[in-house]
């Protein structure tokens, strides 16, 4: 008869260690799938709110329509610069209903490359129906990114 009782304890140790490693690997593996609040999501969500708030505020002051329809692009850039937080870069494009770009000079602050390289660019669409009782909508696309 073969004696196996002597190695029973050693097998249990190996089993226990293997089991521990399995649990450890499983925990680590599951951890990678854990859904946690992403700061990028927060960033874009918050930036969208900030962007919409600033455009709405300028519209409320009756400045936005004036800047857009009188093509005061320099003033629009300056107004966005003072109203947005200093660490936020922006790029604004104004379209007409045909989808043609209306602003003949770029409206931006910060490095323009950051809008193509950053993974967390917030985008806000704002529509102005017209100016001084004339219906001629303009679509404003404001892109924002933290600098």
């Amino acid at each position: 008869m073969r004696r196996t009782k002597g190695i029973d304890g050693q097998m249990r140790i190996i089993e226990a260690i293997l089991a521990s490693f399995v649990i450890l690997f499983a925990t680590t593996f599951i951890n990678t799938f854990a859904v946690t609040p992403s700061s990028l999501t927060y960033e874009t969500g918050e930036l969208e709110k900030v962007g919409h708030n600033v455009l709405h505020d300028l519209d409320e002051q009756r400045l936005l329509a004036r800047f857009v329809y009188n093509e005061e692009w320099g003033n629009l850039t300056a107004a966005l610069m003072v109203c947005l937080p200093p660490d936020v870069y922006f790029s604004l494009t104004v379209y007409d209903l045909d989808g043609s770009v209306v602003n003949n000079m770029p409206i931006y602050y910060g490095d323009p490359e950051v809008f193509t390289t950053s993974s967390s660019v917030a985008s806000v669409t704002y529509i102005i129906p017209g100016y001084q009782a004339t219906y001629d909508p303009r679509i404003l696309i404001l892109q924002l990114v933290r600098g």
């Binding site: 249990r12 450890l24 609040p37 992403s38 505020d57 300028l58 002051q61 300056a78």
Partner: protein
């Protein structure tokens, strides 16, 4: 048998060691996630707080207009203008209740925290102009004004292409017992690429009249987004607030004598000017009768007058010409302005427990552009979790 027991003991120790190391390692692995969750919770709370503050009018909806003001009457907190069809338009009467120095009464930080359900959290709120304006007085000659204005973005960079500065000078003269209140203007001065400009003006004082007080109001605008602030060129009294404190509640303008004011002789409100974001207008012409009297005596401690339509004018500053005793100089036509801190260009310098943020492990800062009295300001909230 004994060998087997030793094996089991060794196994138990090994498993124990693995367990202890796992207990130490796994939380560290998920620490970043825990921190993320904590930060997100704080952000959500800050967003909800900001929403409640800036989009809700509170209850009663006119709680900022109550005179006398009792903070216990406020059932729900919010700063929004009750009749505004638009978002982020704040009621100046409510905002003014966040100023601790307001003699008309203010709402305490603890009360606001309780109303917002922020027990366990600390916060601070400031409502500041969208850009930074500083001025330097270059002339000590009261009749020859010379100021350098510097306008920068809030991150310290000069404003491009330029800011425009319109200056209104309010000054008083006297001839015997007769006082005069004058206005003068320097408009359309632009800043250079460094964000600086110089304002110069020689005041016109008619012969026989003696110059008394001078206040200079700067309206600085960047692409028509404006900030208004004021300073003294000449001030008869050491502290401008000694003459009278000026406040606005709805359409009522109220003047009070600060408790530390000296001397306490009777004073008369001779004239009053209102400054809005775009205009300056004469508001009141005094008669030196008991109707315009302000003293420590019974019945005259507070001067209050309702000006119909004042609210729609969007007042930012009120400047009063007051016939009062200047220390060591006899009666003079002195100028007082208010409300504080509007004269500095801000609405709320710091409300809440600002020093508390220094001891917090993580804080969240959020800001929004808001409209108060037709002008744009930046409302910034800082929120943190307090140690329990």
């Amino acid at each position: 048998m004994a060998g087997e027991i030793y094996d089991y003991i060794a196994g138990l120790i090994a498993v124990g060691m693995i367990f202890v190391s796992a207990v130490m390692v796994i939380p560290n692995m998920s620490y970043v996630n825990v921190l993320c969750v904590d930060q997100q919770q704080l952000r959500n709370t800050a967003l909800e707080t900001l929403k409640a503050m800036l989009l809700e009018p509170g209850y009663p909806a006119d709680w900022g207009m109550r005179d006398p003001f009792d903070q216990d009457e406020v059932r729900r907190f919010g700063l929004a203008y009750p009749d505004s069809p638009s978002f982020h338009v704040l009621d100046p009467n409510k905002v003014q209740r966040l100023v601790e120095e307001n003699p008309m009464g203010y709402i305490e930080y603890g009360k606001v925290r309780e109303l917002l359900g922020l027990e366990g959290y600390g916060f601070s709120l400031s409502i500041l102009p969208p850009f930074n304006v500083t001025w330097t007085k270059n002339s000590e000659d009261d009749e020859n004004l010379n100021f350098t204005i510097k306008t920068l973005q809030n991150d310290g960079k000069p404003i491009r292409p330029k800011a425009n500065v319109d200056t209104t000078i309010v000054y008083t003269t006297k001839k015997g017992n007769t006082a005069m209140l004058y206005l003068d203007f320097v408009n359309g001065i632009s800043t250079n690429p460094l964000g600086e400009c110089t304002i110069t003006k020689t005041l016109s004082v008619p012969p026989g009249e003696e110059l008394q007080d001078v206040i200079v109001v700067f309206r600085v605008s960047v692409a028509d987004v404006a900030a208004v602030m004021a300073t003294y060129q000449k001030c008869q009294s050491e502290e401008f607030a000694e003459i009278a404190e000026i406040n606005i509640v709805g359409e009522n303008v109220t003047l009070t004598i600060p408790p530390e004011a000296q001397p306490r002789d009777a004073r008369w409100v001779d004239g009053m000017i209102v400054v809005s974001g775009s205009k300056v207008m004469f508001l009141h012409n005094g008669t030196r009768s008991n109707d315009d009297k302000l003293t420590w005596g019974q019945g005259y401690k507070v001067w209050e007058r309702r000006f119909k339509g004042l609210e729609s004018y969007n007042p930012v500053l009120i400047i009063g010409g007051i016939w009062a005793v200047a220390e060591g100089e006899g009666r003079a036509e002195l100028l007082a302005m208010g409300p504080y801190p509007n004269l500095l260009g801000s609405r709320v310098l710091k409300y809440g427990d600002a020093p508390g943020a220094r001891s917090a492990t993580s804080i969240v800062k959020l800001q929004r552009a808001v409209v108060i009295s037709g002008m744009t300001y930046i409302a910034e909230i800082t929120l943190w979790k307090e140690f329990q």
